[in-house]
């Protein structure tokens, strides 16, 4: 149970049940779609950019607790950041969940997803929305796939 609580922390369970910024953004300036064909997780990400500053972020989709919480936390952590800072967060987050480097102190709330590193089969759930973010920032039209 304790081990499982490292993965399913209260914050994660909370964000998965009541995802923040869970809506369609009609006036988005950039969007991208992410899909995990193995488990069927889907995410649609909406960004409103002013110059290189992310003014607003929202998402819609369906998925497991990890992917939903990860998307919800992403939307909270990106508001007001520049695209360069978003890219830095991507790098830091990736290291955090794959355990491939010291987690960046700047990750803030995102650090609750650290437990994912103990569940290799679930890393993709946490990173799907981040890959989708990258696609949105690059203006890619093809849906992002984890496979």
């Amino acid at each position: 149970m304790e081990e499982l609580r490292d993965l399913y922390q209260e914050v994660i369970v909370d964000h998965s049940r009541r995802p923040r910024n869970f809506r369609v953004m009609a006036d988005a300036t950039a969007t991208a779609e992410g899909y995990n064909p193995l488990c069927g997780d889907k995410v649609m990400l909406y960004l409103k950019l002013e110059g290189d500053v992310i003014r607003d972020v929202a998402f819609q989709g369906s998925g497991c607790a990890i992917s939903t919480a990860s998307a919800s936390l992403l939307t909270e952590s990106l508001k007001g950041k520049t695209t360069a800072q978003a890219e830095e967060l991507f790098e830091g987050f990736h290291k955090l969940v794959t355990g491939s480097g010291a987690p960046d102190k700047e990750l803030g709330k995102l650090a609750v997803l650290r437990g994912v590193r103990e569940y290799p089969m679930r890393v993709k759930c946490a990173t799907l929305v981040w890959h989708t973010l990258r696609a949105a920032l690059k203006g890619e039209r093809q849906p992002v796939s984890t496979e």
Partner: protein
């Protein structure tokens, strides 16, 4: 009394009453004797693949240790032994299916390859614009996609027979789809997602009455239902070795000789030819016409050993035990708050699919895994079934004869933990 002696006493009691001795049978499966995440393994993913008894592992080991050689080629002793063992395995498959002849038993990689073989070699020459292929809504992707691609290529149409809320085929609707332009019916014997056992005899009779051949995807059935392809009168029957306690990478296509003889080769190369010149190649006789290249010799031998093993414990007895487990699991899992069972057909294989309110199946599977319980989570290669039941994914516990009632209890305790974590 400690657990072990309780188990021994219970087993002895069952045996005295002529009951199925699951505890003794478990001894035949080395993989089951391990812990995962510090908990005893509870393997409930048998619809994905089954575990292998020692006899199968030993047969493969023996082949590579003593007889390894190519088949149908050398005149030396090892090649003779390998050829004999390979062909003996074919004989075992023939008896297992009660096929009329070994010429009707084609070794392939698995069910998927068997269906592709039929789609390409049987379907392609027969399908034209306006023709139709009839499937059911409960098919696995491997019995959808080969037909879909073929229909696209030929300007033909896929027709899908609907299923009801229990997950049973709506037979009248199916029958209505059988028309003069129907070229083949391709149907699962047992649904991998819902467990539904299809009324094969009725399906085949209805199709044959209109001159339509039937392919049966037997991947989920062959290890659990006694087969007699002559009695069923199916035209093709496909199954995989690895879901029948045998190795992966080997499977079987049964086909009526009268069809197979008319069909062109599916793949070409060595072993499937009679004579080759740069002007003309003539093909080998059945079944070799469909076995191009060096086959999975050890796999076939392992499959033969798996059939011997199933015979030794008795497929009917094993199936009866699985049904007992299914009934117990259906009752107990169905009683967990928030659980909705997906697939409640009156006749089912030992497959229990479900969803839990407010919890994604992947999270269920992760929590269960940490309790030692292996289940499948996802769309289980049956996305149309997910869409039919309005769920993105399911959790699926599937049973084999080596599973126990106690393991069902562990599953239920695990599901209660899921509730605790997700409130």
């Amino acid at each position: 009394m400690n657990t072990t002696s309780t188990e021994v006493a219970a087993a002895a009691g069952r045996e005295a009453r002529g009951e199925f001795d699951v505890w003794r049978i478990r001894e035949d499966f080395p993989v089951l004797r391990q812990t995962v995440h510090g908990k005893p393994l509870v393997y409930l993913d048998n619809a994905a693949t089954t575990q292998k008894p020692r006899a199968v592992i030993a047969a493969i080991d023996r082949f590579y240790t003593a007889d390894c050689s190519n088949v149908h080629r050398g005149v030396h002793l090892l090649s003779e032994r390998a050829t004999m063992a390979y062909e003996e395995a074919r004989g075992k498959v023939r008896r297992f299916l009660n096929a009329a002849s070994e010429r009707e038993i084609i070794f392939v990689r698995g069910t998927t390859e068997a269906i592709n073989l039929v789609a390409h070699s049987f379907g392609r020459p027969r399908l034209g614009p306006g023709d139709e292929v009839v499937l059911t809504h409960m098919e696995h992707h491997s019995n959808i996609v080969p037909w879909q691609l073929l229909c696209e290529e030929k300007g033909a149409r896929l027709r899908v027979a609907p299923i009801d809320d229990r997950g049973e085929l709506i037979f009248e609707e199916f029958e209505r789809l059988l028309r003069p332009c129907t070229r083949i019916v391709a149907v699962a014997h047992v649904s991998n997602a819902l467990g539904t056992v299809n009324p094969l005899r009725r399906i085949i009779e209805a199709a044959h009455a209109r001159g339509i051949p039937v392919l049966v995807d037997g991947a989920q059935a062959a290890a659990h239902i006694r087969l007699d392809v002559q009695d069923l009168d199916c035209d093709f029957y496909a199954f995989s070795g690895h879901k029948l306690y045998g190795p992966s990478g080997i499977g079987v296509l049964y086909g009526k000789a009268s069809w197979l003889e008319q069909m062109p080769p599916y793949q070409s190369g060595g072993d499937m030819i009679r004579t080759v010149s740069f002007e003309k190649t003539t093909f080998n006789e059945l079944p070799y016409k469909f076995e191009a290249g060096t086959p999975n010799i050890a796999g076939a031998i392992g499959l033969g050993a798996a059939i011997d093993y199933l015979d030794s414990i008795g497929l009917e007895q094993a199936a009866a035990w699985e049904q007992e487990l299914l009934a117990y699991a259906t009752e107990r899992v169905g009683a967990v708050p928030g659980v909705r069972l997906i697939g409640t057909a009156r006749e089912k294989g030992a497959v229990l699919s479900f969803v839990m309110e407010g919890v994604h199946p992947h999270d269920i599977a992760t929590v269960l895994d940490r309790q030692g319980v292996a289940v499948r989570a996802g769309h289980v290669c049956a996305q149309p079934v997910m869409e039919r039941f309005g769920v993105p994914a399911i959790a699926r516990a599937s049973f084999a004869f080596y599973n126990t009632r106690e393991e069902v209890d562990v599953l239920v305790t695990g599901l209660q933990k899921v509730r605790e974590i997700f409130g």
